[in-house]
Symmetry: C2
Subunit: 131 residues, 2 copies
DNA sequence: AAAAGTACGCACCTTTTGGTAACCATGTAG
DNA sequence: CTACATGGTTACCAAAAGGTGCGTACTTTT
């Protein structure tokens, strides 16, 4: 895992610099599941089970782990209702909502341009065998 | 690596669906180095060595590998000048330039909000030891 | 003659990531 | 009394990602 530099405040933010916190944050946000979770949380708070159903293929472990990481960087807020059986909701923070717009813009762009992106692509054909 | 589904054309694009090509594309774009390379290529074509100097910490292997992947999904074009010594330039395609805007928006957002994102964060302090 | 720059490819090995399965506590449904 | 749902945690292991170092081939510089 990427390590933060010793001296945070002296850096001017720059994702191209190896030791800049911005680079660490980019690596968190661009993790396999992070953008999907932020995207899924777009218009309402969701519970663990709901997120599992929306994001096809995520495991319980990775969902929990990624949510904890997103909490750590202030993008997601966890609401534990303290009931039995457990009821926990996840919500985007204000920062999270702000970033969500950038992420959704990317996700929608990819969806819209999907066919162009995979067109005329011999090596992608080769990858089709396993799944 | 994520595998593409058997039947591409029958899918409506949806990053949340495990087998949708959009999900594969998202995983490519959100790879550790992909967004940095696309971001770096913003206003002019760059050579291998220039990219290495701009993107601190990338290895030759990962640079080449990621450039090949970006070529595969039509985001980057490779121009080999066929000279000796070798002169090769990398350029964003039209698709690449279009996506670059979304990526840059994210990168700049992260840089702008960096201090807020890492503020008040005990566990990030713990990660500061190694690098 | 030797070294350095150019843009890689390949093999090897380590680190990181992520999946599976088992477990926990509790309450409700059948 | 048993099964199931809830929202997790933990240990174990396999796979993927990624770094290091070496080799290539040719030219220019020293």
């Amino acid at each position: 895992m990427y390590e933060l530099p010793q001296d945070i405040t002296q850096e001017k933010p720059d994702v191209f610099r190896k030791k800049c916190p911005a680079r660490y944050l980019l690596s968190r946000v661009s993790g396999k599941w992070s953008m999907l979770i932020v995207d899924a949380l777009h218009n309402k708070n969701l519970r663990n089970g709901e997120l599992m159903r929306i994001i096809e293929g995520i495991s319980q472990k990775m969902l929990t782990q990624t949510l904890r990481e997103l909490e750590e960087i202030q993008l997601v807020k966890r609401h534990d209702m303290q009931t039995v059986p457990p009821h926990v909701e996840y919500e985007l923070t204000e920062l999270g909502k702000s970033l969500r717009e950038k992420i959704c813009a990317m996700d929608r762009w990819i969806e819209e341009n999907m066919l162009e992106l995979i067109a005329n692509n011999p090596s992608i054909q080769l990858k089709r065998n396993k799944t």
